[in-house]
């Protein structure tokens, strides 16, 4: 039993990582908008969906014209991102800005608007697709190049298992230390001690299960998954550069910190908010195209579940925190895959994959209750 679980581990984590990259890119949209407006942009899941659908249309329309699938993908990413960015800007201009201009004090007003926008966009896309094709389910075409499978060398699997087991033991050691602190009033152990204890236990574990860990784990990866990772890394790197090295990035951070002071320094907050929606929307749209590439089927209601999970990821990393959103996305993707696979496996299929959606919500609640500032966020006082 345990042996099968160990053998599955690297593949499951890899799948989770790929899904996590998609979550990370959506989460960035939530977190950036929250940073500048302190608003949970419920409609972001529909911006993601708009990108996914636009990408599907690009693929389907241009499939006969452009033969090279990589060029096609690049175009689809560009168009999907652009469409999503335009939708995001329009949403901000037409729905959120009038509220800000009126200066409402009721906290519920912007939130309810955001939910309304989300529902409106779902059916708007459905209407457009319905009038255009008389059907609103769109399928990404498959290409032999993208479906091609590559074997991964065994050492990647071994390292993955070793790292995961080490993290597991570290958490156990931390918990044990916490218990000692709590009930025996012992001084807290040093982080290095915990790490060493965990590393020692990991070595013992690897030795005990050497016949499983060092056997052929048979890890494979599909071309499209590689593409997802490459594109996501490029986008994350680009965003990092944009936020930290350009004038626009400085302006965004300034508005996020204090919009009023920023406007005294000659920054127009409205323009910056609009640009933030553009960037977040573009990332969301690209994530949508990658999601479509991975899961093939897209429709107007496809955004809801990934959207809420990406929000969980944003909260997990500390909402408003850009690095946190990326890390949160990756962690959530892996946790979800682990939970989904092992839950089905351990209960002999009695608890189906639908329970993995519950898992994401449980993580969200636990994080919000016990560490609302997220994994890397800092504690902020309450504004009165």
């Amino acid at each position: 039993m345990l042996e099968i679980l160990i053998q599955l581990l690297p593949s499951v984590l890899l799948e989770g990582l790929i899904l996590g990259f998609v979550y990370a890119m959506i989460a960035l949209g939530y977190t950036m908008v929250y940073g500048v407006l302190e608003l949970i942009n419920f409609a972001h899941s529909e911006i993601f969906m708009a990108g996914a659908v636009a990408g599907a249309e690009t693929f389907i329309l241009l499939k006969g014209v452009i033969a090279n699938p990589f060029l096609l993908l690049a175009l689809a990413l560009l168009i999907g991102g652009t469409v999503a960015a335009v939708v995001a800007i329009l949403v901000e201009r037409l729905a959120y800005r009038p509220l800000r201009k009126r200066g409402t004090t009721n906290r519920l007003v912007p939130l309810i608007t955001a939910i309304g926008v989300s529902f409106f966009l779902q059916d708007l896309v459905r209407l457009i697709e319905g009038l255009w094709h008389n059907a609103f389910y769109r399928r990404y075409p498959s290409f032999a190049v993208f479906e091609a499978t590559y074997n991964l060398p065994n050492w990647i699997g071994v390292i993955t298992i070793a790292l995961t087991v080490w993290v597991g033991f570290w958490v156990l050691a931390y918990f044990g230390d916490w218990l000692l602190r709590r009930f025996k009033n012992r001084a807290p152990a040093k982080g290095r001690t915990l790490s060493l204890v965990a590393a020692g236990l990991t070595l013992v574990f690897l030795f005990l299960y050497r016949h499983v860990v060092f056997a052929d784990l048979g890890m494979t990866i599909q071309m499209k998954s590689i593409l997802v990772i490459v594109v996501s890394l490029a986008m994350l790197y680009g965003l990092n550069w944009l936020v930290h090295k350009t004038k626009l990035g400085i302006a965004i951070r300034a508005v996020a910190q204090d919009a009023q002071t920023a406007s005294l320094m000659g920054i127009d907050p409205d323009v910056i908010v609009s640009r933030t929606f553009l960037i977040g929307g573009f990332l969301g749209g690209v994530a949508g195209v990658l999601f479509g590439l991975l899961y093939t089927l897209v429709h107007p209601y496809v955004g809801f579940i990934p959207g809420i999970k990406a929000f969980t990821a944003a909260v997990l990393g500390g909402i408003g925190n850009i690095t946190g959103a990326a890390v949160g996305g990756l962690v959530l993707g892996m946790l979800e895959m682990l939970g989904g696979t092992y839950l089905t496996f351990l209960t002999n299929g009695a608890m189906g994959t639908e329970y993995k959606d519950i898992l994401a919500f449980m993580i969200l609640i636990f994080i919000l209750l016990f560490r609302p500032q997220g994994i890397i966020g800092q504690q902020l006082g309450e504004k009165v």
């Binding site: 509220l99 519920l108 309810i112 059916d123 609640i365 609302p372």
Partner: protein, 425 residues
């Protein structure tokens, strides 16, 4: 118009005449939408305009107890509409306590409806035999009333269970977490058919017992009405819903003016200030949550008995959003607003959108050609995806956005809100 408002006698006369005309029109054309809407308009005007109280009661009673049932015998859809409006009105009143009074945005409200519905569905059908040691199910229909009370309790407990983690969070997070927990309840209903079959999974539970109505038929016979069982049930449920709405409204008004109502409003307006005034935040919020949930639970049990069938499909996010739209449309915190919002949205959703779909379908099937000289369009070419009834999300979304931008206080603003605005100006 202004003259009309200043002269109560004239106003009363106009409303009474409109109500009379609309009623006769409806009785003669029970199947068309327009007279029905006019009748409801007259009812609304009678209840909201400053006319003598006895006239309000007279017009309201005549329309609700005589005209609509009489028209309903010719077109049973009116009963269906009335029952659904009633169920949703009671739920909107419940959500109004949570969102309107306490200012807590609950996006998982349909979960409590589901809990109430399953409470009666499981024990009022053979379903409970699957996991209970005594093979005595379904329980006879008399137990329905008891189970309505049990559903209230169970829903309130669920409210406490869901609320205790969720209500420790602030505004925006609360919305997302309640949304998530609402989905959790639906997923559980969908998946708890194994390892032990509690909910029968996606197939749902049927048939569910209804309360027996022999006494009701006998009662009607004394008034000279001979009704078969199938005819009497819609009338019975319609009247039952009216009674429940009456009770729920009364409870709501009392709550609104109670110590708790004032505490909820204080929390809504300013949490920090409310706390400084000595209001215990968490218990008070939890009470609002449980109160709202209990209304929904009672309606769930009624829904199960009326429908004879429940399945997880009936308790999706769109249901929660629909009830939220009702509260927003009517005016958050306003009791007549919640009822008006429920009536508007239900009629829009169940009647008007479907009628529009049918109308477009007729045009399409007839191959009707619109000819404006410069513009020619043959309706036979209309894509069959264009069906207004399937675009409820768009309609709800639009209502939410437009209300928030142009009239966030709703159609009938809360009285306190109106007073506040007067003070400011």
């Amino acid at each position: 118009m202004k003259k009309l408002r200043e002269n109560p006698l004239l106003l009363s006369a106009v409303i009474a005449i409109v109500a009379l005309v609309a009623s006769f029109w409806l009785l003669n054309n029970p199947r068309s939408t327009l007279p029905f809407l006019l009748t409801l308009g007259a009812l609304l005007a009678a209840l909201l305009q400053p006319i003598p109280k006895w006239l309000k009661v007279l017009i309201g009673g005549a329309i609700l107890l005589l005209v609509i049932p009489a028209a309903g015998f010719k077109n049973s859809f009116l009963f269906e509409l009335g029952i659904q409006t009633g169920i949703y009105a009671a739920m909107a009143l419940g959500l109004n306590v949570v969102v309107g009074l306490a200012g807590l945005l609950d996006l998982g409200y349909a979960a409590f409806f589901a809990v109430g519905a399953y409470t009666w569905a499981i024990f009022g059908s053979p379903q409970a035999n699957e996991f209970m040691p005594w093979k005595i199910f379904p329980l006879p229909g008399e137990y329905f009333y008891l189970f309505m009370l049990i559903a209230v309790v169970v829903a309130a407990i669920t409210g406490v269970v869901i609320g205790s983690p969720a209500l420790r969070l602030k505004g925006d997070y609360l919305a997302i977490v309640t949304l998530g927990l609402g989905e959790v309840v639906r997923v559980l209903a969908n998946n708890l058919d194994q390892p032990i079959n509690f909910t029968n999974g996606p197939q749902g539970i049927t048939p569910i017992q209804r309360p027996p109505i022999d006494w009701f038929i006998a009662l009607l016979e004394k008034f000279g009405l001979q009704l078969s069982r199938a005819e009497a049930y819609p009338l019975f449920f319609y009247l039952l819903v009216l009674v429940i709405i009456g009770i729920v409204t009364l409870v709501n008004i009392r709550l609104d003016r109670s110590r708790f109502g004032r505490a909820w409003i204080a929390i809504r307006e300013d949490e920090t200030a409310a706390r400084a005034m000595g209001i215990p935040l968490f218990p008070t919020k939890l009470l609002a949550f449980a109160t709202g949930a209990s209304f929904s639970g009672a309606m769930g049990a009624l829904f199960a008995a009326k429908q004879l069938y429940v399945s997880p499909e009936s308790f999706t996010l769109i249901q929660s959003i629909m009830i939220l739209v009702m509260v927003i449309l009517g005016g958050m915190g306003s009791i007549p607003g919640a009822i008006l919002g429920a009536a508007t949205v239900t009629i829009l959703n169940v009647d008007l959108l479907k009628s529009a779909s049918d109308y477009l379908n007729d045009l399409r099937n007839a191959g009707f050609t619109l000819d404006l000289g410069f513009f020619k369009y043959n309706f036979a070419n209309l894509p069959n995806q264009l069906e207004p009834a399937k675009y409820e999300r768009m309609v709800f979304g639009l209502i939410m956005i437009l209300m928030m931008i142009y009239r966030p206080e709703g159609i009938i603003p809360e009285r306190r809100h109106v007073l506040e605005m007067k003070e400011e100006s």
